[in-house]
C-alpha cells in the first residue's frame, strides 16, 4: 500500500487522535499536544516506506507526546511549595480544609488541584481571568499551608 498524501492521513486520523489526547490530558493541553503530534508526524512522514499501520503509528506518536506532557512540570504549578514542606499532599487530604476558605479561593483551589483545570479555564469558570484565578489559588494555598502548620 503506497503512502497516501499527508492530507488524507491527517483527515482520517485527526478526530480520534484528538479525542485520545483530550482523554489523556484534558482539553486545554490536548490542543498543543495535537498540533505537536501532527507536526512530528509530518516531519517523519516521508521516511515511511509504506502506508500500512498508519493508525497505530499516529497513536504511538500521540502517546509519546501525552507521556512527555504529563512528565513536564507545569510552570504554573503551585503545589511544590507544599510538597517541599511535607511531601505532596493528596487533594483529598486538603479538601476539608478548603471548605473554610473564602469562596473564590476555595473554587480556585478545588478546580486547580481537584479537577486539574488550568488557570485560563478557572478564570472563565470564576467569571474573571487567568491571572485572577492564579492569584486566588495561590492565596488559597498559602492560607491552607498556614492551617496545616497550626
Amino acid at each position: 500500500m503506497t503512502l497516501p498524501p499527508f492530507e488524507r492521513f491527517y483527515e482520517e486520523h485527526r478526530e480520534e487522535i484528538f479525542s485520545f489526547l483530550v482523554r489523556r490530558l484534558g482539553r486545554a493541553r490536548a490542543e498543543d499536544a495535537f498540533q505537536e503530534t501532527f507536526l512530528r508526524a509530518l516531519r517523519a512522514y516521508p521516511k515511511l516506506r509504506h502506508g500500512e499501520h498508519l493508525r497505530a503509528w499516529a497513536y504511538t506518536i500521540a502517546s509519546r507526546i501525552a507521556i512527555d506532557e504529563h512528565r513536564r512540570p507545569r510552570p504554573d504549578a503551585e503545589l511544590p511549595e507544599l510538597a517541599a514542606l511535607d511531601g505532596r499532599p493528596a487533594f483529598a487530604q486538603l479538601e476539608h480544609l478548603a471548605d473554610e476558605l473564602p469562596p473564590t479561593e476555595r473554587a480556585a483551589v478545588v478546580l486547580r488541584y481537584g479537577y486539574d483545570l488550568d488557570y485560563a479555564e478557572i478564570g472563565v469558570a470564576l467569571g474573571s481571568n487567568a491571572t485572577a484565578a492564579r492569584q486566588a489559588a495561590s492565596a488559597g494555598i498559602r492560607r491552607l499551608r498556614r492551617k496545616e502548620l497550626q
Partner: protein
C-alpha cells in the same frame, strides 16, 4: 464534544506551512469561473486546476513533488489575492513565483514565451511556436497549452487558432471566452 475545532485545525495547517514542513500546500479558491485548486511548493506555484477531483489531484501532486501534501491557506494567499484583483479587472499582470522546474525544456520555453503575451492580446499557436524558436511546432504548442499546469496565470487562454477560432481550452471553451471577454480581447 471533543471534535477538532476549525481554529485548531487552521493553527496546525498554518504551523505546518510556516515551519516549511510541506512538499506541497494547496487550497481551493473561488472565482467567477469556478472553484480552482491551487498548489504551491516552497519554490513557487505549481498547479492551478479547474474542476479538480481532489483525490486524484492530491495523488498527482504527491507523486510529482512529495507526499507531504496538505491543505493550507497561508501559502496560497498571494495567488488568491491576485486572482481576486484580476477578476475585478484591477490586475493585468500576475506577480507570483512559479515552480515549473519539472517540465520538459520545450514546455518551459513555450510557457515562458506565453507569459509574455500581454493582457488583452491574443496570439496564434503558430506564432507562439515561432517565438519559442520552433516555427513548425504549432501542434506541439497546442499540446503544451492543453497541459499548462498554471492556467490563467500562464495565459494559455490568449492562444487561438490561425482562423481566429478559440479552438480549445483545458478548462472548457466557455471559460476561455469568459477570460478573453474580461480582458477585452473579445467583444
Amino acid at each position: 464534544m471533543t471534535a477538532v475545532s476549525p481554529d485548531l485545525d487552521r493553527r496546525f495547517r498554518d504551523a505546518a506551512a510556516s515551519e516549511n514542513l510541506l512538499d506541497v500546500a494547496y487550497d481551493l479558491v473561488d472565482t467567477p469561473i469556478g472553484t480552482l485548486l491551487i498548489a504551491a511548493t516552497e519554490r513557487g506555484f505549481c498547479r492551478i486546476a479547474y474542476d479538480a477531483e481532489p483525490d486524484r489531484e492530491l495523488e498527482r501532486l504527491a507523486r510529482a513533488f512529495g507526499v507531504r501534501v496538505l491543505r493550507s491557506a497561508l501559502p496560497i494567499d498571494p495567488a488568491r489575492r491576485q486572482l481576486d484583483e484580476y477578476f475585478d479587472g484591477r490586475r493585468h499582470r500576475f506577480d507570483l513565483p512559479l515552480d515549473i522546474a519539472l517540465l520538459a525544456d520545450f514546455n518551459r520555453r513555450v510557457l515562458r514565451e506565453l507569459a509574455r503575451v500581454p493582457y488583452g492580446d491574443v496570439v496564434t499557436y503558430g506564432e507562439l511556436a515561432a517565438r519559442a524558436a520552433r516555427p513548425r511546432a504549432a501542434r506541439a504548442v497546442g499540446t503544451v497549452m492543453h497541459r499548462n499546469p498554471l492556467p490563467i496565470v500562464l495565459p494559455c487562454h490568449r492562444v487561438i487558432g490561425a482562423n481566429g477560432k478559440l479552438v480549445g481550452y483545458g478548462g472548457g471553451l466557455e471559460r476561455k471566452e469568459a477570460l478573453l471577454r474580461l480582458e477585452g480581447a473579445l467583444l
